[in-house]
């Protein structure tokens, strides 16, 4: 049956090839880099082909659903299945493509690393999980894949586990996303109990709204959004994503910018009608995502680690997508704006990371000021690509970001409250500023002394260990021997070019994609005011960046240094890390854990021991009855006998 149905076969292959690649590498070929690579690449290429084939063959057709029983208990019925509709197909393609590109890229990036095999195994695991997530037909299956994605992320972030910061970051990522996932899980449990099915198609249908009271929809919607918050790094659970940059850069490109973190937003699009059924939910989402946008953009202003900048940029863009979706839902629009931004963002952000990876690989530092002073712009292709990507990020025509951002802003403009739009525009301005801060520094490097005033920047390599956090030397610990700076290998350049071309093309695929996703293209009236405002914000951001960083006699301090308090606030990341650390130490370890342990040792266990000791003690006490003196014994005997006798007489 499987073989007679090529579509099903394709789906199954997509899932099981990476799985078997993971298993094979983990069990057998971990210590053989070549073979591991081959296995993993095969397992990445075939899904890629399948994805594109499906995309073109099935694009316009009605959703195809396969369902098999996975586990059937009583109330809980978990099917294992596939849902191929435009929403999943687009994401399918994105994931398969970037996944494949990153695998290719990593050949160069990770060459010589002792954990090469393990790296590819983990990538395969990720591919398995992410692809399953994308094409799964039920929410629970999606959740399972979601968790597995988290697992892969954990393994990949902590890939260089010898480093404390890396393993710590992995742990943080897992636990923080888990925090959100719990909400997701609770939401699913609510759905199971009150609705009975987790089938995506059913959940999206109107039946839900009819069978569940509104408060329940709101509650479960919000709970599910908790999962989105965790995975897509929305405030206040965004803290893990910047730390996740401890992982190898290709991983950051794949997981922590393009695909995995987008899974949250993908989930929102996946069950968009369900979310849209509750306005409260959507307002909350809108508020949170806007806050996230502003927060992360401001933090990015002050970051000196190139990956940190892009990480916060990712956070802000994810917030932006969520804003788009929420706004669309509130204004009864479509999911296209957010989804489109997701697509374009995947391309240009992956590009940004991969380019940065080239620099990091080459210079052995994450600090873009150092890269700049060491001649970063001499790597022409990466420099060009990174500039393209930054332009897209800033939302400049004709790059992809321009179109998708404009769509989201349009959606925001449809809202009654124009505050959202203003904040969105402000975010766009900040985005343009911080991305071109990087670009201008790299393009027009000054002398190292010029950057010494930049807070957080480490001027001398020797000082790195004392630098801001441990991020200063993220990648040089794994020592993959790039001391001789030979040219950048083609396996690393090739993905850059592919992605750059996507960045250029995607903007003009808007109509095609919209038609694909929504069935029809809505030629929307260009809101020229908005257009001007958006581009204006972006350009002013770029201009400000030029003033601060680009021009010859730039002060190289950033406009934000005029407000020292704010600057510190931003450098300290709004004290969110502090908050969580405080929360963890203070409440979890300090109060609950400590006192429960104390209680366990002293009260519960102590009680048990007390019973034991008092038993022994009473034995010792009672043993005094047995005196050595015969007549006391006899007396005792007589007295007891008399007592019993009296009792019997009384009771007569």
């Amino acid at each position: 049956m499987v073989f007679s149905d090529p579509i099903l076969l394709g789906c199954l292959l997509t899932v099981f090839l990476p799985l078997s690649a993971f298993a094979l590498i983990m069990i057998f070929t971990r210590d053989n880099p070549k073979l591991s690579l081959a296995i993993s690449l095969v397992a990445a290429t075939i899904p890629l082909i399948i994805a594109w084939t499906f995309f073109f063959k099935l694009g316009g057709r009605a959703p195809i659903i396969y369902n098999f029983d996975w586990m059937v208990s009583d109330l809980v019925k978990v099917p294992f299945g596939f849902l191929l509709d435009p929403t999943s197909l687009v994401m399918f393609v994105i994931v398969a493509t970037i996944s494949w590109l990153v695998q290719v890229y990593s050949i160069g990036y990770m060459a010589g690393d002792p954990g090469f095999g393990r790296y590819y195994a983990d990538l395969s695991l990720f591919a398995l999980a992410m692809l399953t997530l994308v094409i799964s037909s039920g929410l629970l299956q999606l959740y399972i894949a979601w968790e597995l994605v988290g697992l892969a992320s954990y393994l990949l972030i902590g890939f260089w586990y010898e480093k404390f910061s890396a393993s710590e970051a992995g742990k943080k990522a897992f636990v923080v996303t888990r925090f959100g996932d719990i909400g997701f899980f609770m939401g699913l449990v609510f759905l199971v109990i009150f609705y009975g099915s987790l089938d995506i198609a059913t959940v999206n249908s109107a039946a839900v709204a009819n069978s569940m009271p509104p408060w329940l929809i709101t509650t479960s919607g919000l709970l599910i959004f908790c999962g989105v918050m965790g995975k897509s790094a929305q405030f206040p659970l965004h803290v893990w994503l910047p730390d996740a940059m401890e992982g190898p850069t290709p991983v950051s490109a794949l997981l922590h910018s393009a695909t995995m973190v987008a899974a949250g937003v993908f989930l929102m699009t996946r069950i968009f009608p369900f979310f849209a059924a509750s306005a409260t939910t959507m307002t909350v989402i809108l508020a949170i995502s806007t806050l996230t946008l502003i927060l992360s953009s401001t933090i990015a202003l002050a970051a000196t680690d190139i990956k940190q900048v892009w990480a916060y940029s990712t956070v802000s863009q994810l917030g932006f997508m969520a804003m788009g979706l929420a706004a669309a839902a509130l204004a009864s629009g479509t999911l296209f704006a957010g989804y489109y931004h997701l697509t374009t963002h995947a391309a240009f952000k992956a590009l940004l990371f991969l380019c940065s990876g080239v620099f990091i690989h080459h210079f052995g530092t994450n600090d873009f000021f150092t890269m700049a002073t060491q001649g970063g712009r001499k790597l022409v292709i990466p420099m060009a690509c990174i500039t393209i990507a930054a332009l897209a990020l800033a939302g400049i025509f004709p790059f992809a970001g321009f179109f998708s951002k404009e769509l989201i802003l349009t959606a925001l403009a449809h809202l009654d409250n124009k505050l959202w739009l203003v904040l969105g525009l402000f975010g766009a301005f900040l985005t343009a500023y911080y991305s071109f801060r990087v670009i201008f520094v790299m393009l027009f490097p000054k002398s190292p002394e010029a950057y010494s005033k930049v807070p957080g920047h480490i001027a001398h390599v020797e000082d790195e260990a004392h630098g801001h956090g441990a991020h200063g030397h993220a990648d040089d610990a794994h020592g993959h021997g790039h001391d001789e700076h030979h040219g950048v290998p083609w396996v690393m350049i090739f993905p850059l070019l592919v992605l750059a071309s996507f960045t250029l093309i995607l903007g003009f695929c808007q109509d095609y994609l919209e038609k694909l996703l929504l069935g029809a293209s809505h030629p929307h009236a260009m809101n020229y005011f908005l257009l001007v405002a958006a581009v204006g914000c972006a350009l002013s951001g770029i201009a400000l960046a030029w003033l601060d960083w680009g021009r010859k006699d730039a002060k190289c301090v950033g406009f934000i240094s005029r407000f020292p308090a704010l600057q510190t606030f931003f450098i300290q990341k709004w004290y969110m890390d502090h908050f969580w650390r405080w929360f963890l130490n203070r409440f979890i370890y300090g109060i609950f854990s400590k006192w429960f342990t104390y209680n366990d040792r002293r009260v519960v266990d102590g009680g048990v021991d007390a019973v034991a000791f008092s038993t022994v003690g009473s034995g010792r006490l009672l043993s005094f009855i047995q005196t050595a003196f015969l007549q006391y014994n006899l007396l005792f005997m007589v007295v007891v006998l008399a007592g019993v006798g009296i009792y019997l007489m009384m009771g007569r």
């Binding site: 043993s623 047995q626 005196t627 050595a628 003196f629 015969l630 007549q631 006899l634 007396l635 007589v638």
Partner: protein, 105 residues
């Protein structure tokens, strides 16, 4: 009714004897004195048997037989007790019960 022809008289007599014996057992410190007190208790029982036999029993011989048995058994008991007391004296050079206080706890 004569006092000595009443069951109660003998029962009280036996009870008093029993009490004296019991007191002796508890109060005297000499092993031999304790032994004698035990014999008093046995004799109290004997008196009871005889009295009951005389006044109540359907079968006239039972109590007397029992008493005879008690006397025999008491003799044996005395013999055994005395022999052990002799052993005590040999090892402890004392027949005071207060000196036999090794085992405790």
């Amino acid at each position: 009714m004569l006092l000595f022809n009443q069951l109660q008289t003998y029962l009280y007599l036996a009870l008093v004897l029993f009490a004296i014996g019991l007191y002796g057992v508890l109060a005297r410190r000499s092993l031999i004195a304790i032994l004698i007190s035990v014999e008093l208790i046995l004799n109290a029982a004997s008196i009871n048997f005889m009295a009951f036999n005389r006044f109540l029993a359907p079968h006239p011989a039972v109590g007397q037989v029992i008493t005879l048995f008690i006397m025999a058994v008491a003799a044996a008991e005395a013999a055994i007790a005395l022999s052990i007391i002799v052993a005590v004296y040999r090892k402890m050079k004392s027949i005071n019960v207060e000196h036999a206080t090794e085992l405790r706890g």
